[in-house]
C-alpha cells in the first residue's frame, strides 16, 4: 500500500523560481527512501511540501490518506501528528532536558503524564540515550542531540519520518550512528522514512531506494540505488 502519493506536483515560489516540475511519486508503507540531488534540486522543497510547510502550486499530494495540498492552515496539526520531522540543526529547546524535550511533543498534543513517561522512555531507549535523560542539549555531542531530535520525532508513533539532511552537521562516525538508529526504527517500528541528503557515503552504504532530483525534476528512481554522478 502506498503511504505517499504525489501526482503532477509543481511548486513555484512567489519570487518566480520553480523548485519542482511535474513530480509523480508513490512510496510504499515501511519503505526507506533517500532523496538526493545537489543544491537547488528541490529536495528540501519536496520534504517541506510533505509536511505542509509549503503548498504545491499544482497537483495532488496524499500522505497517509490526508490530501496535504488542500489541508487548511488550522488543520495542519492533524497531518503533523501523523509524522515526525528531523532537521539538520536538531531544533531542540536549550532550556529543557533531554527527557523534557522529547516529552514536549507529547504534552502539546495533550497526552497524560503516564503515557508520556512511558513513550518518552521507550523512544529514548530506541535511540540509545536512556542514560542521558537529565542532561541538557548543550551537554551532548551533535550525534546525540540529533538522536534526541529523532526520539522526539518518533515518540508519538508516527507512520512517517521525514529527515531533512539529518547528518549535515555531523562527522562520518556520528552520521553512521544516526543512520543506524534510523534503520533500526525503520525495521523495528515499520516507520516509513524519507531522508534528504547529499552525503554520498551514506547513500552508497545503506543500499536503500534512491530518488534523484535535478533542477526540480525526477531523474532517477532506483531500488537499492547508489549516488550517481548524473544527479550531482
Amino acid at each position: 500500500m502506498d503511504l505517499i502519493n504525489l501526482k503532477n506536483v509543481e511548486k513555484k515560489y512567489k519570487n518566480g523560481v520553480t523548485a519542482i516540475y511535474d513530480l509523480n511519486i508513490s512510496l510504499k508503507k515501511g519503505s526507506f527512501t533517500f532523496v538526493i540531488g545537489g543544491s537547488g534540486s528541490g529536495k528540501s522543497t519536496l520534504i517541506k511540501m510533505l509536511y505542509r510547510e509549503e503548498k504545491p502550486t499544482k497537483g495532488q499530494i496524499i500522505v497517509g490518506g490526508l490530501n496535504v495540498a488542500k489541508l487548511r492552515n488550522k488543520k495542519v496539526y492533524k497531518l503533523r501528528r501523523k509524522l515526525g520531522i528531523v532537521f539538520q540543526d536538531y531544533r531542540l529547546l536549550p532550556k529543557l532536558t533531554v527527557y523534557e524535550n522529547v516529552a514536549f511533543a507529547m504534552e502539546v498534543i495533550g497526552a497524560d503524564k503516564d503515557t508520556t513517561r512511558q513513550k518518552v522512555l521507550k523512544a529514548l531507549e530506541e535511540v540509545g540515550l536512556k542514560n542521558k535523560v537529565h542532561n541538557y542539549p548543550d551537554q551532548l555531542s551533535g550525534g546525540e542531540q540529533q538522536r534526541v531530535a529523532i526520539a522526539r520525532a518518533i515518540v508519538n508513533d508516527p507512520k512517517l519520518l521525514l529527515c531533512d539532511e539529518p547528518t549535515g552537521n555531523l562527522d562520518p562516525d556520528m552520521s553512521m550512528e544516526v543512520m543506524k538508529v534510523l534503520e533500526d526504527i525503520n525495521k523495528a517500528r515499520g516507520t516509513t522514512i524519507i531522508m534528504a541528503t547529499h552525503d554520498k557515503d551514506i547513500v552508497n552504504k545503506m543500499k536503500k531506494q534512491v530518488l534523484s532530483l535535478k533542477e526540480g525534476r525526477l531523474v532517477n528512481f532506483s531500488k537499492k540505488g547508489t549516488y550517481r554522478n548524473e544527479s550531482n
Binding site: 509536511y51 505542509r52 510547510e53 492552515n73 488550522k74 495542519v76 496539526y77 492533524k78 497531518l79 503533523r80 501528528r81 520531522i85 531544533r91 529547546l93 514536549f104 511533543a105 504534552e107 502539546v108 498534543i109 495533550g110 497524560d112 522526539r152 508519538n156
Partner: protein
Amino acid sequence: MKVIRMLGRSIRDAFKSAIRNFSLSLASISCITITLIIVAIAIIASLNVQNFTKEIEKDLTIVVFLENDSTSEDVARVRKEINDNKNVDTYTFQSKEEVKQKMQQESDVFNTVLDGWEGKDSPLKDTFQVKVKNVKQIAKTAKQIKNIEKVAVVRYGEGMVDKMISAFSSVEKGTYIVVIALIVVTVFLIINTIKLTISARRREIGIMRLVGASNFTIKTPFIIEGMILGVFGSIIPIVFTTYGYTAFYNHYHGHLFSELIKLIEPEPFIYNTSIAVLIIGIIVGMVGSAGAVRKYLKI
C-alpha cells in the same frame, strides 16, 4: 480530562512567560495602567455628566398659561389635549384661584394687591405645569401645546435649556471618543510588547507546530498571559478609582461648583466602575496578545 490538562498547562506557561520576560511584562502592565487610569477618569466624568444632565432634565417643566377668558370647558379641553400628547409624562393644573391663594400666602404685598381682583378681572391665568418624557423634544412639545386653542403663552426656559442639553451631549460624545481611542492605542501597544515576548519564544512555537500542536494550544498561553497582564494593569487604576473618587466626592461634599451639579454617590458607583475597568483591562490584554500571536500561526 484532556481539556483541563491542556488548560492547566496553558495557565502555567502563561505565568512562566510573564515572569521570565519580567521587564517586558512590566512595560505592558504600565502601559495598561496608564490607559486604564485615563479610561477610568473618562468613565467617571461621562457618567457624572450623564447623571446631572438627568437630574436637571427631571426639573425641567413646561408652564402653560391659558387665555384670561378661558371657561372651565376650555380648561377641560386643553387638559385632554395635553394628556393625549405622547411626550407628556405628568402634568398638574392650577386654577386662577389656586395661583392667587398661593401667591397671597407667599407675600403680604401680593396679598393686598390681589385681594381686589376676582374672577374675570384677575390678571392671573389658569396654568398647567407639564413634565416631558424626552427632554430633547421639549421644544417641539411646547410648540404643540402652544397651538392648542385658548393657550396664551408657553414657557420652558428656552435658550438656556437647549444650550445646556447640546453642551452636555457633546461632552459625553467627547469622552466616549477619548475612551475608545485610548483603548485602541493600548491594544496596539500591547500587541507590540507581546510580540517581543513571542519573538523570544519563536523557536518554541515553531517546534510546537512541527510536533502537531493545534493553533488553539499554541495561542491559549499567550492569551492567558495577556489577561494576566490586564489584571495586573488594572490594580492601580482600581485603587485610584475607589479612593480617588471617594476623596473627591467628600472634598466637594457631593456637589461640583454649584448645588445644581450633583455628583454620583461613591457607593456602589466606584465598585461598578472598578469592575468595568478590570473587564476592559482583561479584554485589552486578551485582544492584544491574540493579535500578536496571529502572525506566528501562519504557514
